[in-house]
């Protein structure tokens, strides 16, 4: 399978802090890829570099073989990289419908209402269309984030700690939602909930101190002594 995303030597420092330090990373079309690591390992910085929220200092990023390292964030979004924020960043004073419609209409305005409804149904927020986003519960705001990401019909959906704040019952629904996305959409999942990652991911990459410690299947990662020492054992 051709790599959807490939980074070579990707680097971003903040002053003396090496948040992302020469990361080589490959994302295969159609997989659910888990990105784990202790707090401050550089996970969010890394996906911010992928989505273009932050510019890379050195190294390259390619999408389907095309170099996108210098492309601004909105161009990358149009090319199919969708990012859902770790700290929910919906449009607080707009209705649930308008939030998702904004994502839908950036792809074109045909059948806007129907497509927006479909995205809401998919995450189970139908019936809340007219509610103001800031009045939703935290869990529902997270689902709204995901709906906005889905509505972009992305080739790559980056989910930054999507289950944080979800109830156990909601997590089950979320897992089947993510499974239903592949293989049309490739998913990159940052997640602290190990059960969710091990259950969902086909492959996992472990970051520590801005570097890749290991990459492999969940079983390989679980068995890797370095990972156990640096992370799981802690």
């Amino acid at each position: 399978m051709a790599p959807l995303i490939q980074t070579r030597g990707l680097t971003r420092h903040f002053g003396g802090l090496k948040a992302v330090d020469g990361v080589d990373f490959t994302l295969t079309q159609g997989e659910i890829h888990g990105l784990i690591g202790p707090n401050g390992a550089g996970k969010t910085t890394f996906v911010s570099l992928l989505s273009g929220r932050l510019p890379a200092q050195s190294g390259t990023i390619s999408l389907n073989g095309e170099d996108i390292t210098r492309l601004p964030a909105h161009h990358r979004a149009r090319k199919g990289i969708a990012y859902t924020f770790q700290i929910t960043s919906v449009f607080p004073r707009l209705s649930v419908f308008d939030n998702v419609a904004l994502a839908v209409q950036s792809q074109g305005t045909r059948d806007l209402t129907a497509r927006t409804r479909a995205a809401l149904v998919r995450v189970g927020l139908d019936g809340l269309e007219e509610q103001e986003a800031q009045t939703l519960s935290y869990g529902h705001q997270r689902l709204l984030e995901v709906a906005m990401g889905l509505a972009l019909h992305p080739r790559l959906l980056i989910l930054d700690e999507p289950t944080q704040g979800l109830a156990a019952s909601e997590i089950e629904g979320f897992k089947s939602l993510v499974r239903s996305l592949v293989p049309e959409t490739t998913v990159l999942l940052i997640e602290h909930n190990m059960e969710v990652v091990m259950d969902l991911a086909t492959r996992i990459t472990v970051l520590t101190f801005g570097r890749v410690l290991a990459t492999g299947t969940p079983a390989e990662i679980r068995a890797n002594p370095h990972v156990q020492e640096a992370y799981l054992g802690a």
């Binding site: 989505s51 929220r53 601004p72 964030a73 909105h74 979004a77 149009r78 969708a82 990012y83 924020f85 960043s89 919906v90 449009f91 607080p92 004073r93 707009l94 308008d98 419609a101 904004l102 994502a103 209409q105 950036s106 792809q107 305005t109 806007l112 906005m148 972009l152």
Partner: protein, 310 residues
């Protein structure tokens, strides 16, 4: 459907105004409608897109001079002069946006203020053409539209009403369109909209240019209907005025600009009996609104009672 009925009903009521208003008040209403068009344009930038400009007087003056000067110098009739005015407002707004939209927030306010000030001073510098602070009266040949004389009461009122109605309905259609939603997204969360694939710079540039078309139309209408063009319309006061109207009526509401213009006009008219201190009323209104009712009248009504209000 409700919003469209409400807006068309307002236009219908205004159309009957000359029947129950004295000619003096009808002329004042025409003036208010023209200024409301200016404020509607300001509202598109400030109320919907979140661009707090302190330089809209430049756009008003651009429309005014772009209509008034050709009428004066080359004998253009009112129709082409009016179109030139709209284009002038839009063009200057686009140029302003290309530079000023590289900044945001407070810097944007100061940059727009400075460019407007430079424009005002430029009008003074070329006083032999522009008439400077004194301005000039537009020649009567330039105030004829389709055979009717815009300096007489009825044609003037009808022309003002037409421009107002088109402006109002166009703004209603705009803010209910997908692009209107995108404008609001800039106001609410620019970073998020970037991640949805929007380029904030181009969206804001388009919104500011639309705003400039409105300001240009208002400036041109003022010149042609009331027959006067002058640099005083480029002063900071005329940048503050639409902001005041919009804040009072309700930022981000389609009817707010008209309501604000109407109330502010009435307030000053009523206070004239008591005091000549107009500036005091303007100043106090600004402070009181920003302190106690930052959403304005219609913004508050929408929040409390009428959720469907556009």
């Amino acid at each position: 459907m409700k919003p469209w009925i409400l807006h068309i009903a307002l236009i219908a009521v205004l159309a009957t105004a000359p029947l129950w208003l004295s000619p003096y008040h009808a002329t004042n209403l025409a003036r208010i409608m023209v200024l409301a068009v200016f404020a509607m344009g300001y509202n598109l930038a400030f109320g919907y897109t979140g661009l707090l400009s302190l330089g809209h007087a430049l756009l008003l003056a651009a429309g005014m001079y772009a209509a008034g000067l050709p009428a004066q110098l080359w004998g253009w009739a009112a129709g082409p002069a009016f179109i030139a005015g709209i284009a002038g407002g839009g063009l200057i707004a686009a140029a302003l946006g290309l530079l000023a939209l590289r900044t945001a927030g407070v810097s944007f306010m100061i940059v727009t203020l400075m460019f407007a000030q430079a424009g005002y001073l430029t009008l003074l510098y070329f006083a032999h053409v522009t008439g400077g602070e004194d301005g000039f009266a537009v020649v009567s040949s330039g105030r004829v539209l389709l055979g009717s004389d815009l300096s007489t009461d009825t044609p003037r009122f009808l022309a003002a009403l037409t421009i107002f109605a088109i402006g109002l309905l166009a703004s209603l259609a705009l803010v209910r369109s997908p692009f209107g939603r995108t404008m609001v997204a800039m106001r609410e969360n620019e970073e998020r909209s970037r991640m949805l694939g929007y380029n904030p710079f181009t969206v804001k540039l388009a919104a500011l240019t639309l705003s400039g078309l409105y300001a240009g139309a208002a400036g041109a209408a003022y010149a042609l209907l009331f027959g006067y063009v002058g640099a005083s319309f480029a002063t900071i006061q005329y940048s503050i005025l639409p902001m005041l109207y919009v804040l009072m009526g309700g930022a981000g509401t389609t009817l707010g600009p008209f309501l604000g213009a109407l109330l502010m006009f009435a307030l000053i008219e009523a206070a004239t009996v008591l005091t000549t201190a107009h500036q005091f009323i303007v100043g106090a209104a600004l402070v009181v609104l920003i302190l106690f009712a930052p959403k304005g009248i219609l913004g508050t009504i929408r929040e409390r009672w009428l959720r469907w209000l556009p």
